[in-house]
Amino acid sequence: MENPILTKLKEKFPETILEIAEFRGELTIVVKREDIIPVCTFLRDEPELSFNFLSDLTGVDYLGRKPRFDVVYHLYSIDRNHRLRLKVKVEEDESVPSVTSVWNTANWFEREVFDLLGIRFDNHPDLRRIVLPEDWEGHPLRKDFPLTREEVMFTHNKNRPPKITE
């Protein structure tokens, strides 16, 4: 029996759905990047789905795959107690429409994805770095940003710059 959420979504947006996967009882739907706002608005407002809670908005870097990034949305409905995972695949210089107009929760989540992975969001009210300082260069959570180890400075090595190993 097909998941009723999937049925309703297929009815309303037949061409937007790109992939469907189910693993350990969790349904994942990949949708087209441009249509994310209509899909999310439908999921929130449709009375039988009523996904009013955006649990999480995050990004994953699949270096070496085209498109490189995945932006993952975890949705939950407090009234109906069902969950959904939506994904959007993004290339390196592309941007994703921001869903802050649908759920205000997305505000800080999208800032964090921009900060750590470098994915831009269109129409975000305040897109700037959140956990890193404003003048930081680079996006640490990307797979090509090294996990650096810096040597600890004591008095015996204070007169030379710290060695950095990766």
Binding site: R24, E26, F53, V60, W108, L116, L132
Partner: protein, 400 residues
Amino acid sequence: MKPQVSNRIERIDTHTMILNMGPQHPATHGVLRVILELDGETVVKATPDIGYLHTGIEKTMESKTYAQVIPLTDRMDYVASLSNNLAYLLAVERLLDIQAPPKAQFVRVLLTELTRIASHLVWVGSHAHDIGAMSMLLYAFREREKLLDIFELVSGQRMMTSYFRIGGLAQDVPDGFEPKVKEVLDTFPDRINDYENLLTKNRIWLNRTVGVGKISARDAIDWGVSGPILRGSGVSWDIRKSNPYSGYDKFNFDIPTGKNGDVYDRYLVRLEEMRQSLRIVGQALDGIPEGDFVARIPGVVLPPKEEVLSNIEALIFQFKLVVEGFSPPVGEVYHSIESPKGKLGYYIVSDGSNKPYRVRVRPPCFVNLSALPKMIEGRLIADVVAVIGSIDIVLGEVDR
């Protein structure tokens, strides 16, 4: 000569003042910076600035095996470390499709509820201290000492316990465990009554907390707020009831909710949650089933020490597991629990290797803090401290 009195009121130019509630501040519970724009004493705009405690935990987790990640999870919400462990391990166990045995589940529930009480004690102590009732801090930490003694008894550590493992517990519960928990169960209800006597009907407390920092249920859901704040606004949602994990469906407990969504309601909700947690601890202690403390799955769980020292196969498994770790199937899971702060979720992406490809922690304090401007704008500056305290943030989780 009489002075001329003008009938027009001269326009006086006013500016708003930007006040920095800096990262070093006794009332921000860690290194949190809030940039307040004030018009007199009214807060016009509040912008939290976080990131002072960012240590790149999510990136570090990508370079450790699944079992090595467990100590990293403790350090995020450092006040309630066992619930972080539980959240991560339940996600990994879902990825591997294994279940901990009943004894391990009961002990996990017992210790997680004690952690909830410990976290709420820190909260009530520091929140009351910020508002001005300074002696609450010392009373709360005196009770917390007994709980930390229990944690030290089972795991050897007071705070960063890392006591749970994939498939169950690290070791069996030691002998003195039950008497110590019984002692907490006997003495604690009186203590909570003491706190209620001190604060709940106290006129100064009511003046400072009733009607302060209100957020409606609709706004709270829109801003992703979860946990006691959402329950204080009237939404009765607790993940332990809606999606039970680790055997919570076998226990009887109630979910307290508030009506107005202000600081006072959140205080009442958390105090009542401490009482409900004691109820769960009592039920868990009475009914710990017999059995093994960890699921004996050869490729994932370390074999028992006696076998390692005598059997060559167990020795090989032990070596491989410690040095290399195990490789779960390819896939992704998301699992969330009700931590003392709210909905704590872990999203783990596995690519089939022995290290997780991506671990994402959905931090409740981060999301709850993003709703701070909604709660504080339009109120007086003296309420900022009360509201920040009522959100119950732990900066280790906000910044990771």
